[in-house]
Symmetry: C2
Subunit: 268 residues, 2 copies
């Protein structure tokens, strides 16, 4: 079981940012990644649909013998973690708690902002999680639906993206937050513009960076960590549910995955 791989899933290829961090911080572990590119995005859909898709994805990975599940998608973490934990017995790590813990510990003025998909923000999952670490923190959340399209369009350092960011983030600036959680795997791609609009006094929390530590802890707790000594850099196995060129290109941008490393599957 210690030798088994870790399974990571996301609604698409944005979660490859999490896989990337995992490869850096847990080099002795094998990884399997599943991106549900055929049914993305999750962030505009209902809890029922997101739970159903998440259960499909987890079942696919567990059939491949994973010892632990990482839910790299913020929306799936916010809406489906309970359902996954009720159904499966392996340790399951979402991206909400690690990001929330970091934010709760970092704020000095006790005011934290959260940006994410409509579904993530509506669920109030970050708010609940941040308050579970520090009850007195004031959390203001804003949905930024256009950020994913802008990131996918590649309009990164761009006047239009800056104008959109100003409109979405203005209430957070006015609220006087000093920590902003990037609550969607795509948002780190827009970090330059978000940082510029928020100004240097606001710290940005990228949940993907906090996940490996949490996974390490979960594996150690259950005695499931891979024995050391494996050569670092074992290439991950990547599955996608849709084979459009669009997602391949995006995968390459994020993780330098070349087409031959990717396998297409139907998990529905």
């Amino acid at each position: 079981m210690k030798e088994a791989p870790i399974g990571i899933f996301d609604s698409g290829v944005g979660g490859l940012t999490v896989l990337k961090q995992m490869l850096v911080h847990l080099p002795q572990e094998r990884m399997i990644y599943l991106g549900d590119t055929a049914r993305l995005p999750y962030g505009i859909k209902s809890r029922e649909t997101v739970v159903r898709y998440s259960l499909n994805n987890a079942a696919f990975l567990l059939e491949r013998g994973v010892k632990c599940l990482v839910v790299a998608c913020n929306t799936a973490s916010a809406l489906a973690l309970d359902a996954l934990e009720a159904r499966f017995r392996v340790p399951i790590v979402g991206v909400i708690l690690p990001g929330a813990e970091k934010a709760a510990r970092s704020t000095r003025v006790q005011k934290v902002g959260v940006i994410g998909t409509v579904a993530t923000i509506r669920s109030r999952a970050y708010e609940t999680a941040i308050r579970s670490f520090r009850e007195t923190v004031d959390v203001l959340s804003v949905a930024c639906p256009l950020f994913v399209s802008l990131a996918e369009e590649g309009w990164i350092q761009d006047d239009i993206t800056r104008a959109v960011a100003r409109r979405y983030l203005e209430p957070l600036i006015r609220h006087g937050i000093d920590v902003l959680v990037l609550g969607c795997t795509h948002y780190p791609l827009l970090k330059p513009v978000i940082a510029q609009v928020m100004g240097p006094s606001v710290g940005l929390v990228d949940s993907s960076r906090e996940v490996p530590l949490q996974v390490k802890r979960a594996l150690e707790e259950k005695g499931l960590g891979a024995p050391g000594g494996r050569r670092p850099g074992v290439p991950p196995k990547v599955y996608l549910t849709d084979c459009s060129a669009h997602f391949l290109e995006l995968s390459q941008t994020i993780l330098e995955i070349s087409p031959e490393d990717v396998e297409y599957v139907d998990v529905g």
Copy 2:
């Protein structure tokens, strides 16, 4: 069979613009609408996925006894019409041909622009269809992926939308087109801005307006038209595959459908 309903499907609720036109022009017909809101959007996905989803949707409608299928989604019309015609025997009307015919007949300078999703534009379906009506027409196509998100965000008469439109449409203006096909069911929602950016000398073709005539022809050809005399305004039956509030609100905006008229189904 004449009394059977007409089945209309779309990747989401944008196709309700087509249903609206159908209700106006074919008031004696009963209609069933299916929006695949759980798996939308189609426009960034592969041909394989769009074909599979389209076959699911068509099968669902045919099980409900429809006499004719309308593919209200531009992407599904561009990528899956052949597969649908190979599998099913009822008359099938997509949105590409009606829009292409109108554009080919309207252009005076023989230069037509087409805007649509990445998948629609890549398929070159409009180009092929327009040339089938008038071989000499010069067609320039541009994918506008952000338009759907902007329309769904409700940023209709908006400076950011205007800036995005200017960036996408600029090559079409420079090319000197006099007719622009709005090749995605969401784009008519942005008509005010698109018209303003293109200027008064460019005619806009909204495929949804051309569909009812084509359907009428197809039904007459097969002797399948409903007998007249039925009271106009029979309320359509609407099925969606996801029940998020987001799509309900959008449905209400487009067609004034109230929540109790909508049923949620799984077609996958």
